[in-house]
Symmetry: C2
Subunit: 167 residues, 2 copies
């Protein structure tokens, strides 16, 4: 399978795609977040070939997003557990799920999320780390960070009727 | 290019991947969010072939995530603009960017986000729509929603040492 590697792109979204951008990876992580941690269970639930699942798990282990923990010695068998780096992908999964619930779930969500702190079914609201207000595309602006290499779009690429830069 | 279609999967994450799961789609959306809205500019910034860019733009237009707006008549030329459905993908992009900034940006972020409301550089904090508290993988639980079709993992798939279900 040919693909472009995003590894050398100086972009954090590309770096995230490098790790989880393969078609199956987010669904494997979804299931691991749901508590499905064993190869056979993942294989069966996802309807994925053993070869592809092995590849994807190796890739995720290689990037430190999940790790193998033996739960049996003879023969050795593993659970796949999220690392901290993997658990930190949770907002990506939740944001994807909520978008899918909004636009592609005519019969309602398949899975809902209960916030244990307040015990209510909850949605994710993106808020500002500084003032606590709601963050949304139209009330933020993007500015070049310390690692900007001149690829931040200049005025020449922002046409008069363009959206406000916000990603 | 062969791929599995996620279209028939009863899962909102799969539905989101069906729309934006192609390798380039999130990077195209990233640039459109940044105000880069024209074919030639996208082509040049992304270093992507014209054919692939055309394919991806058609796919995103077909799913109602972006739309074409003519900015010139002879010959006709288009800007690509986010629809509301497309703007609602913003939390996915932000969550991916923040993860990449944390784990794969040794020289610091390339792009930072300023919250116009408080005028500070901000990170996204996922909070609860009901109580306003912080939402994180370890303080939520997943429960079957109205469209659950029995694929929600049962006790048989949640092994004793598994993580708390949370995606």
């Amino acid at each position: 399978m040919q693909r472009t590697s995003f590894e050398t792109m100086n972009c954090s979204i590309a770096q995230c795609l490098e790790v989880v951008g393969e078609w199956w990876s987010m669904l494997i992580l979804r299931d691991i977040f749901l508590g499905v941690t064993r190869f056979e269970d993942l294989c069966q639930r996802l309807g994925i070939s053993r070869n592809v699942l092995t590849d994807r798990l190796d890739h995720l282990v290689g990037h430190g997003v999940i790790e193998r923990q033996a739960y049996q010695d003879h023969p050795v068998r593993y659970d796949y557990r999220l690392t901290e780096k993997g658990r930190d992908l949770w907002p990506v999964l939740v944001a994807m799920r909520e978008w899918g619930d909004r636009y592609a779930a005519p019969d309602g969500p398949r899975v809902e999320m209960v916030h244990r702190v307040c015990d209510h079914k909850a949605h994710m609201v993106p808020t500002c780390s500084e003032c606590g207000g709601v963050l949304e595309a139209r009330n933020v602006k993007a500015v070049p960070g310390p690692a900007d290499s001149g690829a931040f779009p200049g005025a020449d690429l922002r046409h008069p009727r363009s959206s406000v830069p916000s990603a």
